[in-house]
Amino acid sequence: MTGFLTLFHKELLRFWKVMLQTVAAPILTALLYLLIFSHVLEEHVQVYPGVSYTAFLMPGLIMMSVLQNAFANSSSSLIQSKITGNIVFVLLPPLSYVEFFLAYLLAAMVRGLVVGLGVALVGLAFTDLTLAHPLWMLAFALAASAVFGAIGIIAGIWAEKFDHLAGIQNFLIVPLTFLSGVFYSIHSLPPFWQAVSHWNPVFYMIDGFRYGFFGQSDVPPGVGMAVVLPSVLVLTGLTLLLLRRGYKLRH
C-alpha cells in the first residue's frame, strides 16, 4: 500500500509543483473560450429553454478541461520519465502493475478534476450555474477523467517521443472533445453529423455531465453512463494488460 501511495503522491507533486503550467494555464484557456464564445453567441443561441448560452457552455468547457488535463497528466509524466530515463526508479521497486496503474490513473483524474473545478469557479464569475443532479454530475466527471487518464497511460507507454504524443493530442483528443457538443447541442447539427456524434463516447460524457447541471440533455443520463462506464472498464483492462506484459517498459 505504501508503494502505491508514494507513487500516487509523487505523481500529484509532479504537477502541483508546476501548477502554473498544469493548472492555471488550462483554466485560462477555458476562460478565453468562455469569453469569446459567450460574447459572440449569447444573444443568438439558446439550446435549452431557460438556460443561457453561457450557462450551457460552462459544463462543456469544464468537461473538456477535465478530459484534456487527465490525458495530459498521465501521458506527459510517462513520456518524460521514459525519455529522461528516470522511469527506472519506478520499474526497479517491487510495485505491482496494478499499483502502477492506479497511481498514474488517480493522479491524472485528480489533475483533470482540479482543473475542472478551477474552470467552474472562475466561470461562476460570468454566469450562474444550477446543480440539478450533483451525483450524475460527479459520476460523469469521475468516469470521464478515468477514461482519459487511462488513454493517457496507454499513449505515454506507447509513444517514443513527444511528437507521437502531440499526434494523439491533435488528431484524437482535440477532435473527439471538440466534436462532442462542448459548444453546441448535437441536435443543431445536420442528421449525418448527429449520427457521427453518437459514435463519439465524449459526446455522452459531456451530455451526461450537462444533465447533472440542468436536468436536460440530448440522451438520458442512464444511456450515457451505459456507454461511458464500459469505456472505463475496457480501457482499464487494456492498460492493465499492457502493463502486465511490460509493453515498451520492460524490454
Binding site: 500500500m1 505504501t2 508503494g3 501511495l5 508514494t6 507513487l7 503522491h9 509523487k10 507533486l13 509532479r14 509543483k17 508546476v18 520519465s81 529522461t84 530515463g85 528516470n86 527506472v88 526508479f89 519506478v90 520499474l91 526497479l92 521497486p93 517491487p94 510495485l95 505491482s96 511490460g246 520492460r250 524490454h251
Partner: protein, 300 residues
C-alpha cells in the same frame, strides 16, 4: 547458503541482436564480483534481467533465491541497482528523491538511514538541493543512495565510476567496500580494469553475450602469468640463445618473456658470458588489462 545471484542458461535476443547467449553464473553472498567486457558485450542486459527491466528470452535468474519473474517482488526487494545512465527526476530535491524511493519499497519513515547515506556519500549539504542543480558526480552519488534506501543485501553497480572524478571514485569505493565488509554482495561492471583488480575477488569476462573467463582474480592473473623482464643493455645486442624470449625491443630496451622469476638468473648468466652489461632492469607482471586483452583477442 542461498546464492546472492544465480543465472541459468540465460538468453536474451533483441530484434536483431543476440545479446546474451546462455549465461550460467553464480555469485555467492558476500562476494565482491566484477563483470567485465567490452561495450555491447551484454553486461547491462544481464543486470537488466536481474532487475526485471528486461525479460529473458530463455533461462532463469534468481536473486537471493527468488526468481526474478515469478517471485519478482521478493527478488526486487533484495536488489539495489545503480543504473549506468545518469538519470534523475528534475522535479525533486535530493531528500525528496530518497524519500520517494524509500516509499516505493514500502518504507515510510526512513530518514535516519537516508541521513546516514547522505553523510557517507558526501551529500549532506546537498539534501535540499534540486536534482537539476547537482554536478554529474553528485547525481551519481544520489543514484547510489537511491539504490541503497531499502538496504538491499545484493548491490549491482553498472559502470558506477564512468565519467566520475578521481576523488569521488576513491570515496565511492571506500563506501562500497564498507558495505561489502558489512555483508552486502557487490556485483559491478567497470571499464577501469585496475579497479576490478584492486576490489574484486572474482571476475567474469563477457564477450558477445558469452562468459569467456570466470575465476578468482588472483588465479586469473597468475594463470596468465607471463612475467617479463625489461633490460637496457650495453652494448645493445642480445646473445643468440636469448633471441627466443624476445617480445619486443624499443629505444634500446629489450623486453624478454619469462615463465617464472627463477629464469632471471639464466638470462643474466648468458649476458655475463657474452660480455654484455646490464645498465637497467625491471620486472613486470601481467595485470588484469593484459589478461583481458588476451582473452578478448581470442576467437570465441
Amino acid at each position: 547458503m542461498t546464492a546472492a545471484i544465480r543465472a541459468h542458461a540465460l538468453e536474451k535476443r533483441y530484434r536483431d541482436v543476440h545479446a546474451l547467449r546462455g549465461i550460467d553464473l553464480t555469485v555467492e553472498q558476500g562476494e565482491f564480483f566484477a563483470l567485465l567486457g567490452p561495450n555491447g558485450a551484454g553486461k547491462t542486459t544481464f543486470i537488466s534481467i536481474l532487475a526485471g527491466l528486461a525479460r529473458a528470452t530463455a533461462g532463469r535468474a534468481e536473486v537471493m533465491g527468488h526468481d526474478v519473474v515469478n517471485d519478482y517482488r521478493a527478488a526486487r526487494r533484495m536488489l539495489g541497482v545503480v543504473p549506468q545512465e545518469l538519470v534523475f527526476d528534475p522535479f525533486f530535491t535530493v531528500r525528496e528523491t530518497l524519500r520517494i524511493q524509500s516509499g516505493y519499497y514500502g518504507l515510510r519513515r526512513n530518514d535516519a538511514w537516508i541521513d546516514e547515506l547522505l553523510t557517507h556519500l558526501g551529500l549532506a549539504d546537498k539534501a535540499d538541493t534540486n536534482m537539476r542543480r547537482l554536478s554529474g558526480g553528485m547525481k551519481r552519488r544520489v543514484l547510489v543512495a537511491q539504490a541503497l534506501v531499502h538496504r538491499p543485501p545484493v548491490i549491482v553497480l553498472d559502470e558506477p565510476t564512468a565519467g566520475v572524478d578521481v576523488e569521488l571514485r576513491q570515496s565511492l569505493w571506500a563506501f562500497i567496500r564498507r558495505l561489502n565488509r558489512e555483508g552486502h554482495t557487490i556485483l559491478l561492471t567497470t571499464h577501469y580494469l585496475e579497479e576490478a583488480e584492486a576490489l574484486c575477488e572474482r571476475v567474469a569476462m563477457l564477450k558477445q553475450g558469452r562468459i569467456v573467463a570466470l575465476d578468482h582474480t588472483a588465479r586469473l592473473l597468475s594463470r596468465d602469468a607471463e612475467r617479463r623482464l625489461e633490460l637496457k643493455l650495453a652494448p645493445p645486442r642480445l646473445p643468440p640463445e636469448l633471441q627466443g624470449r624476445l617480445v619486443e625491443c624499443r629505444d634500446g630496451r629489450y623486453c624478454l618473456r619469462l615463465s617464472d622469476y627463477a629464469e632471471v638468473e639464466t638470462v643474466l648468466a648468458s649476458l655475463r658470458e657474452a660480455g654484455i652489461r646490464v645498465e637497467d632492469m625491471a620486472l613486470a607482471q601481467a595485470d588484469l588489462e593484459d589478461v583481458f586483452l588476451r582473452i578478448m583477442g581470442q576467437q570465441v
